[in-house]
């Protein structure tokens, strides 16, 4: 076994032979670009002049009071242009693809945030953009589907399997195998074959780099706990990376427990899966005894994925990060509380992190600080929340 592209024993590149040269080309291009001050300056220019970085660090004042414990601070990735952290990665990868001379961009999307972000950047550069999206996700994320059309992208429905993010990713990889000469595949999370987990981490680590700097400026010290939701895990890796060496800072990843781990209807790969290979990487995976990948459930389309980025698997094994879960109902309650107490409508994905941050704030008590990655805003989830109804407090 090679050690290149490994996080501990996880990662690697389990792909059809056709793609191996393309991944090698991507790795070389990535290393050259990231060492090139001209490329970095170009990327920073887009991040700060177009995407709206740096994003603020906001104290959730009333939520903190209501919890009666540690201060809860929000890293506001919901304020990035297009409404989520996904644009950080889409900008980086599309700039890299242009540098590589690729003329066609493809992407997969679950909640639609990565699809919208990729379509947005392709509009900026006049690039052809095809986004694969499961039929089920198209149904529950209609607003983002419409947005991608407005931005000039073609959304291709995927009807295979569970018709969600996993199947959209399969279809994007098949497209890439077929059109690899002129096409770059913009993977939306820290998943997939090497070098993608490393590449996406590099483009998302701006979240934690900024937050750490802001923390030291504002408080003169670091947070006690950093909390982020984990589907594939790109916002979590994005905010965790800057704090990896700060051993006193707790890193807490939150997986989707859906209707409850015990029901089997969830998307908690680290909690309930075991290592296997999906989409080119060896990592924790929800699968049956025969190695068939299981269908998942989460109220949040962005977390509804049976795998998880290989670096999360390694951080878990090394006990550098802890991973916990949050049910659909707990996330909905946290969603409503942030709306009503802070005037911020969070994404359902981020609401999973908020629910655990509240829990952790109560446990830590006053005098401590919990930093939450508010990875996206919730406009896209309004239909889902409206269909459930209520304010969340009546749910058990």
């Amino acid at each position: 076994m090679t050690t290149a592209g490994r996080f501990g024993i996880y990662g690697g590149a389990f792909v059809p032979e056709t793609l191996v040269p393309a991944l090698e080309e991507l790795e070389v291009a990535m290393n050259e670009a990231l060492a090139d001050p001209v490329f970095i300056a170009e990327l920073d220019g887009w991040l700060y002049d177009y995407a709206g970085r740096p994003t603020p660090l906001t104290l959730a004042r009333r939520l903190t009071e209501a919890c009666g414990g540690a201060e809860i601070w929000l890293k506001r990735e919901d304020l990035v242009h297009t409404g989520a952290h996904k644009l950080n990665n889409a900008l980086g990868q599309v700039l890299l693809a242009r540098r590589m001379g690729k003329t066609r961009i493809i992407a997969e999307t679950g909640a639609g945030q990565h699809g919208v972000a990729t379509a947005t950047v392709c509009a900026c550069f006049g690039l052809e953009c095809v986004v694969y999206m499961g039929r089920e996700d198209i149904r529950r994320q209609a607003l983002n589907v419409y947005k991608m059309g407005l931005l000039g992208a073609e959304v291709r429905p995927v009807d295979s399997g569970s018709k969600t993010l996993k199947d959209a990713t399969n279809e994007a990889i098949r497209d890439w195998v077929t059109n690899v000469e002129n096409t770059h595949y913009v993977i939306g999370s820290v998943v997939g074959p090497h070098p993608y987990p490393t590449l996406v981490k590099r483009f998302q680590r701006v979240i934690g780099d900024e937050a750490r700097r802001q923390a030291l400026q504002r408080w003169g010290e670091l947070p006690d706990s950093v909390v982020a939701c984990v589907g594939g895990g790109s916002n979590a890796i994005g905010i965790f990376t800057a704090f990896l060496e700060d051993e006193d800072v707790e890193l807490l990843g939150v997986e989707a427990a859906g209707r409850g781990i015990e029901t089997g209807e969830h998307a908690a790969s680290l909690e309930a899966g075991r290592p296997g290979v999906l989409h080119g990487a060896y990592s924790y995976l929800l699968q049956d005894a025969h190695g068939q990948v299981r269908e998942t459930h989460s109220i949040s389309a962005g977390l509804d994925y049976p795998g998880v980025g290989p670096e999360h698997a390694a951080l878990r094994d090394a006990e550098r990060a802890r991973y916990v879960t949050c049910t659909d109902n707990e996330a909905l309650r946290a969603f409503h509380r942030l709306c009503r107490m802070e005037g911020i409508i969070p994404a359902l994905e981020s609401s999973h992190a908020l629910a655990v941050a509240e829990r952790r704030a109560r446990e830590l008590g006053p005098g401590h600080r919990v930093l939450v990655c508010l990875s996206g805003r919730g406009d896209k989830d309004i239909d889902t929340v409206r269909a459930v109804g209520g304010t969340g407090e009546e749910m058990t």
Binding site: M1, T2, A4, G12, A13, F14, V15, P16, E17, T18, L19, V20, P21, A22, S160, G161, K166, N170, I173, R174, V177, T178, N179, V180, E181, P275, G276, V277, L278, H279, G280, L285, Q287, A289, H290, G291, Q292, V293
Partner: protein, 270 residues
């Protein structure tokens, strides 16, 4: 009785008339169209004069496959097919007189779930002679290749039109039985013609190894097979065969036997 394992491929390729049409390696998905159809299909392929056969062990997320093989796999999984049951279908066919070489094709995750060593042992016990794993490039293949080798089985790697010749040499060095040459940049599925890139790849493979070459992905018609005479030693035909079986109208074995004979360019008695 020929030797089992990699030796059975060597014997089958050695027995083939040099310079003529490539031999036919039909691909069938285990458990398709029905749970009990695989052993009879393998025997039908043998009656039709196939050089070898390939049995697909279905996986929920077959990245290298187009719609035909995806659909066949899902149908088989829905009817309860598992890797162990798929392997036992080959054992049944051997018991019923199957003597041609058989390669199993599957993805790495079902192999890992069973355990690499247990998988190799089960394949050997069932009379499977080689294993093809399309999402296991040479960098990741050492463990499986070693286990297969220890059981005398052939590790059959894939090379593609995008594979540089230096890498073809590296891949071929890990191969036994034959080298699986992917004819297109793309997934499996019937196509109208054989691409010039495929012929170029076959030449590049020959320049670095003496192993037999089987061309697959997209081969679907007798004229493809005829055009490939002297370019390769075998062709793998999967999606076109499964499409023919799925369109029905006859017993799957009867359809498969007729289909392979047509590919070989021989009549019903040939």
């Amino acid at each position: 009785m020929t030797a089992a394992g990699a030796g059975r491929f060597e014997a089958a390729f050695a027995a083939r008339a040099a310079g003529g049409r490539p031999g036919i390696i039909p691909y069938v998905t285990a458990g398709f169209p029905g749970p009990g159809d695989t052993a009879p299909l393998l025997l039908a392929c043998q009656r039709a004069g196939s050089l070898a056969a390939e049995v697909g062990i279905p996986f929920s997320d077959p990245l290298a496959d187009g719609p035909t093989i995806q659909n066949a796999g899902w149908r088989a999984l829905e009817q309860g097919m598992t890797p162990a049951r798929a392997i036992s279908q080959v054992a049944q066919a051997r018991d019923a007189g199957l003597t041609i070489p058989v390669a199993a094709m599957t993805y790495i995750n079902p192999v890992l779930a069973m355990g690499v060593e247990a998988f190799a042992a089960a394949c050997a016990a069932a009379g499977i002679d080689g294993v093809i794993v399309p999402d296991l490039p040479v960098e990741e293949a050492a463990g499986l290749a070693a286990s297969l080798g220890a059981h005398g089985l052939a590790h059959i790697p894939l090379v593609a039109p995008t594979t540089p010749t230096s890498r073809v040499a590296r891949v071929a060095a890990t191969a036994a039985g034959f080298v699986y040459c992917v004819s297109v940049t793309g997934t499996t599925g019937a196509r109208a013609s054989v691409s010039p890139a495929a012929l170029d790849l076959l030449e590049r493979v020959r320049s670095v190894t003496a192993l037999p070459r089987a061309l697959g992905f997209g081969i679907s018609r007798p004229e493809h097979v005829e055009a490939l005479a002297r370019h390769c030693e075998a062709v793998v035909v999967g999606s076109a065969l499964l499409d023919a079986i799925a369109s029905g109208g006859d017993d799957p074995g009867v359809i498969a036997e007729r289909f392979v004979r047509e590919l070989r360019g021989v009549g019903a008695a040939g």
